[in-house]
């Protein structure tokens, strides 16, 4: 039995830009998944995962009725839409990238998966 899961087994995401900051919305497939993410998907975990972006800080907001967390990754875009020298000037890839974040295996994975 696997000891970890991928975030994409229990959640989906969407990301975009706000000036030089990126926003990353992570949405659980079920309420059980949201409860798990609320505990496990901390600012620290997200900041660590995206450590290569050079964020100055990460802020998290909760939207329990949507089973969602919204992360703001400050200064993540190396200048933002007009002056970033990266191919992903607007942080559009972050939502696909975070699908690979690994989390400890939850006890009730089947209650968190997409139906």
């Amino acid at each position: 039995m696997a000891k970890t899961i991928l975030l994409s087994q229990i959640a989906h995401a969407r990301s975009g830009d706000k000036g030089n900051h990126a926003n990353l919305g992570v949405i659980a497939y079920t309420p059980a998944g949201f409860e798990y993410l609320r505990d496990m998907l901390t600012n620290e975990r997200v900041a660590d995962f995206f450590g290569g972006l050079g964020c100055s800080r990460v802020e998290r907001f909760e939207l329990p009725r949507l089973w969602a967390l919204n992360f703001l990754l400050y200064d993540a875009l190396a200048g933002g839409a007009s002056r970033s020298l990266r191919i992903d000037t607007q942080g559009k890839l972050l939502s696909t990238a975070i699908a690979d974040l690994t989390l400890p295996m939850p006890k009730n994975l089947s209650a968190m998966q997409r139906r």
Partner: protein
């Protein structure tokens, strides 16, 4: 009464057939068309500098021409768009000529402007508006570079006023994206400007549809499950209480489900408890979404508080020049060779006296598109070398664009893709996020027939 508001464009450059397909395949009250991303205005400002009759979203004219049969067949269909960009009056004149030419000269066009505060900045600064940068706190006076554009994000009031004056077409400059939906809702439902919960409800609906197909299956991780070639663009069915149903034309591709609506609700937002527009301080954390049927999702429960006292301002300044070049590198060790190529290019530029304020080298294909996540996979044979430079000196950036092709014969073996021409140097406009008191901005509304707009000044 249910108000059916669709959005057929999510940015300048969106699919040109989407608006026509929307109006042909669904019964709509309003079609909105959103063209202005954060920095689009500075690009349009530059176009207007070169030509005083330019500076608006010219795509709108192509779209409008494609909509003429539907506009004739559906007399109640109205259009609200921020296609006016930096020049709403010129946009209205161009649109008016198209309408008049199709026998629609009697229809009224409303223009909303007054958002452009560039000329007033010195007076406003003298009057005590410091225009502090929202990220850094620095006052605008500390900025040395020339400002290209400064536009307040206006709200729904002027759109509603134009509609109340009989406009069938409302063309605006910079307005908050969600206000394109809120304006028609206030006009049709007769809401008051302190009906905060209803204004919040319409703002949520407007936010969900403002990016076009991103609400209907575009940018969706489960894209394999749907047909995107024929993706339908979103429709918000608004109720008088501010709640709505998001849907799309019957028979179109894509999907509207809990996942697509939730993703778009979260798209490019900050604190979800305070989604700020000029119309309302909307709280997305009270929102609930519920799938009702195939491609129908209800949005309920948005709440709002009093609108902010200040308008957000989209201000951009000149910040040098930028260019990006790329080349395909093939090798058993493609990353090593790509990095060597970059060093050769940069060494030659240095010898020519060109060092750059900022340089970025990416080996695309080797896991560098999102820095720090993945290493090159074993057996990797090729990467796309991408070099970008940014510098205040245009000549230096221009010189960079000429340093790729020589590598074809004077670089390592195994390079390709330099035959598509030199990269282009482009000016950089950097965003200075700031605010201005509403009392310092004077939005204007002007409504007259297309026939009148199309007459020469």
């Amino acid at each position: 009464m249910t108000l059916r508001i669709a959005n057929g464009a999510g940015f300048l450059g969106d699919n040109l057939d989407a608006p026509r397909r929307l109006v042909e395949s669904a019964s709509l009250d309003y079609l909105t068309l959103e063209y202005l991303a954060e920095l689009t205005l500075s690009i349009l400002a530059r176009l207007r500098e070169k030509n005083p009759a330019a500076g608006y979203a010219e795509d709108f004219m192509t779209v409008l021409a494609s909509l003429l049969p539907a506009l004739t067949a559906q007399p109640s269909l109205k259009i609200v768009t921020n296609a006016g960009g930096m020049n709403p009056c010129a946009c209205a004149q161009a649109a008016a000529r198209i309408l008049a030419g199709a026998g629609l000269g009697g229809e009224k066009i409303g223009v909303v402007d007054g958002d452009d505060i560039l000329a007033e900045l010195p007076a406003l600064q003298s009057a005590g508006c410091a225009f502090e940068n929202l990220d850094t706190g620095e006052p605008l006076a500390s900025l040395k570079q020339p400002i290209v554009s400064a536009n307040a994000y206006l709200g729904a009031r002027e759109i509603a006023a134009a509609l109340a004056s009989g406009a069938r077409f409302v063309i605006t400059g910079r307005v908050a994206d969600a206000s394109l939906t809120v304006g028609p809702a206030v006009h049709e439902f007769g809401w008051k400007w302190d009906d905060w919960n209803r204004l919040a409800g319409a703002s949520v609906a407007g936010h969900v549809i403002e990016c076009g197909a991103q609400a209907t299956g575009g940018f969706y991780p489960h894209w394999r499950e749907i047909d995107l070639a024929d993706v339908g663009y979103p429709i918000a069915e608004l109720e008088a209480d501010g709640n709505s149903v998001i849907t799309k034309p019957e028979g179109s591709g894509g999907t509207v489900n809990r996942e697509t609506v939730a993703e778009q609700l979260l798209y490019e937002i900050g604190d979800p408890a305070h989604y700020l527009t000029p119309d309302v301080d909307a709280d997305f954390t009270t929102v609930e979404i519920e799938p009702l049927a195939r491609d129908r999702v209800a949005i309920r429960g948005a709440t709002g508080r009093a609108a902010p006292e200040r308008y957000k301002v989209s201000l951009a300044y000149r910040d040098g020049y930028l260019a990006t070049g790329q080349m395909l590198v093939y090798d058993r060790k493609p990353v090593e060779k790509a990095r060597a190529c970059a060093e050769i290019i940069l060494a030659r530029l240095k010898a020519a006296g060109c060092e750059f304020r900022r340089v970025n080298v990416e080996c695309l294909g080797a896991g560098e598109a999102v820095p720090g996540l993945h290493s090159p996979p074993p057996g990797l044979r090729e990467v796309m070398l991408r070099i970008s430079v940014h510098d205040p000196r245009r000549e230096a950036v221009e010189r960079f664009t000429k340093e790729f092709a020589p590598l074809a014969t004077s670089g390592p073996a195994g390079l390709a893709g330099y035959a598509s021409g030199r990269p282009q140097a482009r000016p950089v406009f950097t965003y200075w996020p700031t605010l201005v008191p509403k009392s310092r901005v004077a939005p204007r509304v002007r409504v007259q027939t297309a026939a009148a707009w199309s007459e020469p000044d």
